[in-house]
């Protein structure tokens, strides 16, 4: 009896292992392959995450995640079509199939994951909500803000966080809710509000790009709430979900291994069996995801590893000059901990 059961399990395993991966592909993944491009919803006006530069090219961490996924699926980082979405339109755009995935600085929450018919995959950026004020006010803590007027984007996590922060302290405030990031920044830097609340990444981006003199503004040290941000896909396609998730992890794993866009070919000659498996020289990791064996090495070669992406989006090579902080790898005291590539 037990023997027969084992035999059955073995047969099923063999059958499963032999069947071609493409037959499992979900509807969204099939559509991407057929179309030959990945359609990616991104914000387009958030420095660091996604911004259209003066030459019309999309730049930033979110756009690089899209390029990484496009490389994994289609073998070419340029086979991405970016669609501009706002914080109001991003979920409907994904739900209706207008875009294949979102990389639009979306915060991962239970309600969104459970109620919207979408799946959050892997955090790409750990953020939190902070307050920015004119340095001249001499305010050092949120506790001194009773009665303040606060500029806030609608429907963002910020609108909820500012309410919770002030209620918990028994303080009052007046929100000024402006939909457009540019108008919000104009209003804040013109002095319409005492403070602006947003993710600390967003605040440092506004300060670096909009303020006449960035030195005149401080971001308070208190950071509220958890804002893990990452790509989002529809629930109907588990294969696409896996590919997007492991693309993000591959970027981080490459940094952990010390593989960069410059040395990826060199590393292919490495003695380390884990690196060889990761780059597809040995093993069948690519095949398991339904991708080509060298998907990770092509990805790192064209897009770079997570550290390189961070440096040009938020870090030392960008105007934002944001420290790695929580976004360092776990080996450097941060939170990014890619699961093993086995």
């Amino acid at each position: 009896m037990i023997g027969r059961l084992l035999l059955g399990v073995a047969a099923a395993t063999v059958a499963g292992g032999l069947s071609p991966p493409a037959a499992h592909a979900g509807p969204s993944l099939d559509a991407i392959r057929e179309r030959g491009t990945l359609i990616c919803g991104a914000n387009g006006s958030r420095a660091g995450f996604s911004l259209v530069n003066s030459e019309g090219r999309w730049e930033g961490m979110d756009t690089d995640v899209c390029r990484a996924v496009a490389t994994a699926i289609l073998g070419d980082a340029e086979k991405v079509e970016f669609v501009k979405v706002t914080s109001q339109t991003r979920f409907p755009a994904l739900q209706t199939g207008e875009v294949d995935m979102l990389a639009a600085n979306v915060t991962w929450t239970l309600t969104r994951d459970a109620k919207l018919g979408v799946d959050f995959v892997a955090p790409v950026f750990y953020d939190g909500q902070g307050f920015m004020l004119p340095r001249a006010l001499g305010v050092n803590s949120v506790d001194e803000l009773d009665g303040a007027t606060v500029c806030v984007l609608p429907g963002s996590t910020s609108e909820k966080v500012v309410n919770d922060v002030f209620r918990a302290r028994g303080m009052t405030y007046t929100p000024v809710v402006i939909e457009d990031q540019k108008e919000l920044n104009n209003a804040f830097f013109a002095g319409r509000c005492d403070a602006q609340i947003q993710s600390t990444s967003g605040l440092s981006a506004s300060r670096a790009t909009v303020a006449a003199n960035p030195e005149d503004y401080v971001i308070l040290g208190e950071v509220f709430g958890k804002d893990p941000m990452g790509p989002v896909v529809r629930e109907d396609d588990a294969d696409l979900r896996d590919i997007v998730g492991w693309s993000v992890y591959a970027l981080q794993q490459a940094e952990e291994f010390g593989i960069t866009s410059a040395n990826v070919e060199e590393m292919a000659q490495s003695e380390d069996p884990e690196i060889l498996t990761f780059l597809g020289a040995t093993g069948d990791l690519g095949e398991a995801l339904g991708l080509s064996p060298d998907w990770a090495s092509t990805m790192i070669q064209t897009v770079g590893n997570y550290g390189e992406i961070y440096a040009r989006s938020f870090g030392e090579q960008s105007p934002l000059q944001l420290e790695r902080g929580l976004n360092a790898l776990w080996t450097d005291g941060g939170l990014h901990y890619p699961p093993p590539f086995k």
Binding site: S87, Q88, F91, P92, Q95, T111, R112, K115, L116, G117, L145, D146, G147, A148, T149, C151, P154, G155, S156, E159, K160, V162, N163, R167, Y173, T174, P175, V176, V177, I178, E179, D180, E183, L184, N186, A187, A190, G191, R192, D194, R234, E235, D236
Partner: protein
């Protein structure tokens, strides 16, 4: 039976109706299936859940523990408030500009023309943002511009002194409204008498009395309070007095000045539509200039003015949704927050559309009723 005209008409009607209803049912069912297949939560139950966000300026009391439906109520009252004031503003400015354009003084007519061309031919969103940029560049409340003692003009808003006992003034306001209604009734009665007897009596002294006496009497009856509260800066905010926020001011100006340009042209067209012969005939009867306007020209012009003006008022109400661009918490802006915080995008948009539709239909119903009263009364 097939050749019977009446029967055929009914059959076509039935067929058309079945098609329309069938399509509607199919669309709704399909939508429900699609939403269910994508695991998207639906239903209006979320309206009873706590909103969890605050609204900057409210006419109704609201805080973040109140339910979503109260947030809608706040957004709707703000939309109605700014629309109502902007309709009044657009009408006053529009009529004034129309008379300027009709004036024989080249300076006046030139300014009127420049106003109309300038405001009519630039996008309304640009105008709203322009006013907002202007208002937010006013001085900070720490050293505000004080045109009159007690009035603060700052980039946090226009602060006006308010009476200390607002309850007393509320009664005076009610009495003033009553007085206004009485004065109008008196005017109608006087005109009817004039039609019946043909004798012209002066009506304005009685009307002035009817408008002024009731509020003064009410004010005196509740104790004639005279204390006023002046706005003052305390900590981060200005306390006391009435306030018009920069967002409200910018939206009000953006809506009323833009629509005023259209109203001006409608009024000018209406006045020009009254034929010259009518004026000449009135002059031949010995009427004075203002009597010609009031008794002959305006009543006939109104017939031409009211229908297109209705369309402008309705579009003003709909355009109040531009408040979202500058952060005035009107319906569209509040709805934006509600739909992302609750996740019920379709329901929220459906509610918003239903509300705008009802407001617009109500405005045009009121204007149509008014239109009927100014049309030619066939006897």
């Amino acid at each position: 039976m097939l050749y019977n005209k009446a029967w055929r008409a009914i059959a076509y009607q039935l067929l058309a109706m079945t098609l329309v209803i069938g399509t509607g049912v199919y669309v709704v069912l399909n939508l429900q299936d699609a939403l269910a297949a994508r695991n998207i939560a639906t239903g209006f139950g979320f309206l009873l859940q706590p909103a969890g966000f605050a609204i900057g300026e409210t006419l109704l009391p609201f805080n973040s523990t109140d339910a979503f439906w109260r947030a809608y109520a706040v957004g709707i009252t703000n939309t109605l408030f700014v629309s109502a004031l902007a309709i009044v503003g657009a009408t006053v400015v529009g009529v004034a500009v129309a008379f300027m354009r009709l004036s024989r003084n080249p300076l006046l007519s030139g300014v009127g023309r420049a106003y109309v061309e300038g405001f009519r031919n630039t996008p309304q969103l640009v105008q709203v943002i322009f006013w907002y940029a202007l208002v937010t560049r006013l001085p900070h409340p720490r050293n505000p511009f004080v045109p009159v003692e007690g009035v603060l003009v700052s980039n946090r808003g226009l602060y006006l002194p308010a009476p200390a006992e607002q309850g007393a003034w509320f009664w005076a306001l009610i009495a003033a409204c009553l007085g206004l209604l009485l004065a109008l009734a008196y005017l109608r009665h006087g005109e009817r008498r004039r039609h019946e007897t043909g004798r012209v009596r002066r009506l304005w002294p009685g009307m002035v009395l009817l408008v002024l006496v009731p509020p003064l009497l009410a004010w005196w009856l509740v104790g004639a309070p005279t204390a006023w509260v002046r706005p003052e800066l305390q900590g981060f905010r200005v306390v006391g007095g009435f306030v018009f926020s920069p967002e409200f001011i910018a939206l009000f100006l953006g809506l009323s000045l833009y629509i005023a340009a259209f109203i001006a042209e409608i009024v000018r067209a209406g006045l020009n539509a009254v034929s010259q012969g009518q004026r000449e005939a009135a002059r031949a009867l010995g009427l004075k200039a203002w009597q010609i306007q009031r008794l002959v020209v305006v009543p006939q012009a109104l017939r031409v003015i009211v229908p297109p003006a209705t369309a402008q008022y309705v579009s003003l109400v709909k355009n109040s949704s531009l408040g979202v661009a500058i952060g005035y918490p009107e319906l569209f802006n509040v709805n934006n927050t509600i739909l992302t915080l609750s996740g019920h995008v379709l329901e929220a948009i459906a509610i918003m559309m239903a509300v705008y539709l009802s407001i617009s239909l109500a405005v045009s119903a009121m204007m149509n009723a008014y239109n009927r009263s100014v049309q030619v009364q066939e006897r």
